[in-house]
């Protein structure tokens, strides 16, 4: 059952109830003609039937009830006496409404309209002629009040109105805020408002409950004068409203003199096209560059011209991004095919498509971007509550709230950030007494900042607390057997131990932290977002935890490499450099997978062996050196092909246990390349 059916069902029930009430009331009146209460009851019942009948489309019932109501109104006023005839007539009317209702409900035979007319005529006959004349025929259906109903289709031509609103000083006491009028006008079209403050009295004479302002408004709208008048329907007798038509512009005239924003846009579009046309005529790549730049500038001016927002369900965006991904892949394939054909005309248009696709990709990815400030704002409360709970004084400073991130990334960042901030407050910032003793300001500071770094977003949480204790962490790590005793490990590497599962140096478990569950979850979340965590800490001065994340999850910058006929993509974010090694050099290093790169020892993994790829190693191999969790590690491949805009496609469920490969992408020629997860590869090494 839909909503309106539900209302109608309710209407039937209600009306039936009312009608039985009518019967009771009529009989009461018959017994005691002076029973004013019963008359009122009767009147209201009929009145309600009339009102709800018209509400739910039972116009005939409503119209009939209207006549009964008119008669009863006169009974109520005492102009029509209670008589046997009246009682009979009301009862007949009641039965008639019951019959009409049954008909409408499909539960009874059709009623005879003539019978109804007879009853109405008799009802009218009961009334004295002087009372009867005016109201009876004036059924409200077409009354003048219809004015507050929104207007029928308005003329399309724009007109300019000059409107002066001078409200009554007591307008607020009527429950009307003149601002509402301004809002209503602003909804109708472009509107410039000038406020007059001349009538505002001195402070001593000013009543805060009165309105002294008046307004002049210039409204440009396609709505009719009547529609503009309707705005003031509730205040026409309490406000002085003057509406003047300034100018009515014909559509043709308007286009030639004052272009609307749409026309401006179209004109810009023309300019574009011309620029592109001219540039492609010259056929030279060098000339194409400036045109591209120009193109980048032009859309930005568009944006400021149309500064409005549209809400779109996010699954539509996801679909759009998917499509653009497919487009990028196919465009790459097209470029490859075109380069084989080697035709100037084809090459030219393919180049154009390549450029447009790139721009489309960037713009579409941009749609999903949201400022991180929304997330930041949530933390103010968290910091406040938590610090008072722990009896600490902490101030949160946020920087770079305008930094934009993919919405998906942003949503998943929430929990890790909460965790890191909790940690900073609980473990980092010392209690005020301790801080004072060590000469620090009583109030601790946590700086939450975000910013762009290349194609990555860097978010850091920095506190001015006691810092991490390297020795404690080392001891704990040795205890749990993660690192060998006496091993020489740089501090930075030790710090990363706090991200290990089950790690906790707090002996005491609080509700806030210390359970040793947590930072490993943070690490996992960040890694699943293809990001990494960097920890820096100075004892006594504080800790800084930095999260480095890709801008988006849909497309990454990758480095395309191959081994034999297989292609792989390494996330470019973690790549530091590429070096060549000759098979001879490898032989010389004690058979261990370590390479000397300008004096630094770098361990490496030969992907050929890792993935059991058959074939002979080439004379000269390439090593892609990456930085994963502050360890440099090389991946040996046959060839480095180059940078690749990688549209990430998830792998099927059959591969879900293969953590080393985080996804796949399709290359220009249709070959599949696997995207490697360097974090997992390092751990498994």
């Amino acid at each position: 059952m839909n909503e309106s059916n539900r209302f109608i069902a309710e209407f039937y029930n209600e009306t039936e109830e009312l009608l039985s009430g009518v019967e009771d009331a009529v009989l009461d009146i018959e017994e005691n003609p002076g029973d004013q209460e019963a008359v009122n009851r009767l009147f209201r019942a009929i009145h309600t039937i009339k009102g709800s009948g018209s509400m739910f489309g039972f116009d005939t019932i409503s119209e009939f009830a209207h006549h009964v109501e008119t008669a009863l109104d006169n009974v109520r006023n005492g102009t029509v006496p209670v008589s046997k005839a009246l009682i009979d007539l009301i009862l007949v009317s009641r039965d008639r409404i019951t019959a009409m209702l049954a008909e409408a409900n499909g539960a009874g035979p059709p009623v005879d309209p003539r019978e109804g007319e007879q009853i109405i005529a008799s009802l009218k006959g009961l009334l004295r002629s002087d009372v009867a004349e005016v109201p009876v025929d004036e059924f409200p259906k077409d009354g003048p009040e219809k004015a507050c109903v929104p207007d029928a289709p308005a003329p399309q031509n724009e007109a300019v109105y000059r409107i002066r609103i001078s409200p009554d000083p007591d307008i607020f006491a009527m429950g009307m805020d003149p601002v509402m009028l301004l809002y209503d006008l602003a909804d109708m079209g472009a509107c410039s408002v000038m406020v007059h403050t001349e009538k505002v009295p001195d402070l001593e004479n000013l009543s805060p409950e009165s309105c002294y302002l008046f307004w002049d408004i210039l409204l440009t709208t396609t709505k009719s004068l009547n529609a503009v008048r309707d705005v003031f329907i509730f205040v026409e007798d309490t406000c002085e409203i003057v509406i003047e038509t300034v100018e009515e512009k014909a559509a043709a005239l308007e286009a030639s003199t004052v272009p609307r924003s749409g026309d401006i846009l179209a004109e810009c579009g023309d300019i574009h096209k011309k620029v592109i046309d001219e540039e492609s005529d010259t056929l030279s790549k060098e000339r194409l560059k400036p045109a591209q730049k120009e193109q980048k500038v032009v859309p930005q001016t568009h944006k400021s011209a149309v500064a409005s927002t549209v809400r779109v369900p996010s699954d539509r965006l996801d679909k759009l991004i998917n499509l653009v991904g497919e487009l990028v892949i196919n465009q790459a394939r097209l470029t490859q095919v075109a380069s084989n054909i080697n035709d100037t005309h084809l090459g030219e248009s393919v180049e154009e498509i390549e450029r447009l696709t790139g721009e489309l990709r960037d713009s579409v990815l941009n749609i999903r971007m949201m400022p991180i400030g929304i997330t930041f704002n949530k933390f103010r409360r968290l910091v406040r509550d938590l610090s008072s709970q722990l009896h600490k004084e902490v101030e949160l400073i946020t920087k770079g709230a305008e930094t934009e991130l993919d919405k998906t990334v942003l949503e998943r960042l929430d929990d890790p950030l909460v965790h890191l901030i909790r940690n900073s407050i609980d473990h980092g910032v010392e209690p005020p007494e301790v801080r004072e003793r060590t000469g620090k300001p009583k109030k601790g500071t946590i700086i939450l900042s975000a910013g762009h770094k290349g194609t990555n977003v860097v978010i850091s949480i920095q506190d001015d607390g006691k810092g991490l204790n390297v020795e404690t962490i080392r001891k704990k790590a040795v205890e749990t057997g993660v690192i060998p005793e006496n091993a020489e490990i740089p501090d930075k590497k030790i710090f990363t131990q706090i991200l290990a599962p089950g790690f906790s140096t707090t002996s005491e478990v609080t509700s806030v932290s210390g359970r040793g569950v947590g930072l490993d979850v943070v690490k996992r979340t960040i890694e699943s977002l293809r990001g990494r965590i960097d920890i820096d800490s100075v004892p006594g001065e504080g800790t800084k935890i930095t999260l480095i994340l890709p801008l988006t999850l849909a497309i990454i910058n990758g480095l395309l490499v191959n081994i034999e006929d297989d292609f792989f993509v390494l996330p470019l974010m973690s790549v530091e450099e590429c070096v060549e090694i000759k098979s001879k050099e490898i032989e010389t290093i004690n058979g261990r997978n370590i390479l000397n790169v300008r004096g630094n020892m770098v361990p490496y993994i030969r992907l050929r062996d890792r993935f059991h790829i058959a074939g002979r190693r080439p004379e000269v191999e390439h090593i892609v050196i990456t930085n994963v969790n502050d360890s440099r590690i090389g991946f040996v491949v046959d060839h480095v092909i180059g940078g690749h805009q990688t549209v990430i496609k998830p792998l099927g469920p059959a591969f879900r246990y293969n953590k080393e490969i985080s996804g796949a992408t399709i290359l220009g020629d249709g070959t599949v390349a696997l995207i490697l997860d360097t974090n997992v590869l390092l751990e498994s090494a």
């Binding site: 709800s52 004036e138 009527m174 805020d177 509730f234």
Partner: protein, 121 residues
């Protein structure tokens, strides 16, 4: 936070329709069957707007409007009356009692919302 509107009408079907329409438009609705119940509820409640029928048992719409306006906390809230009256007399009475505006029954849901938007944002 959603604005709270009180709807007062002795007809269940009309209250239901008002409730549904206003809820759809994002308002919170408090219902009362007549002026008496409305005043009882309003003693301990804050509302942003009142939408009331005029013809009701116990305490009619006009009395309700007068009472609401006399309460300091509701001095400035918008009050819309639901009226079926074609003559302006009832409307004048309502305005004199302190009503902000009116809507004539029958009305469609979108007309109701248009009127509410005129006085409450």
């Amino acid at each position: 936070m959603a604005k709270v509107i009180m709807t007062v009408d002795d007809s269940t079907s009309i209250r239901q329709m008002l409730n549904f329409t206003l809820n759809q438009a994002g308002y919170e609705v408090v219902e009362a069957v007549d002026g008496q119940e409305a005043t009882d509820k309003l003693a301990a409640l804050h509302i942003d707007m009142l939408l009331t029928d005029l013809n009701m048992p116990n305490k009619n719409g006009i009395e309700l409007i007068e009472w609401v306006r006399s309460m300091p906390k509701f001095k400035f809230i918008p009050i819309i009356m639901l009226t079926t009256e074609s003559d302006t007399e009832m409307k004048q009475k309502g305005k004199a009692a302190g009503a902000t505006g009116w809507i004539v029954k029958p009305f469609k849901p979108e007309q109701l919302i248009a009127v509410v938007k005129k006085v409450l944002r």
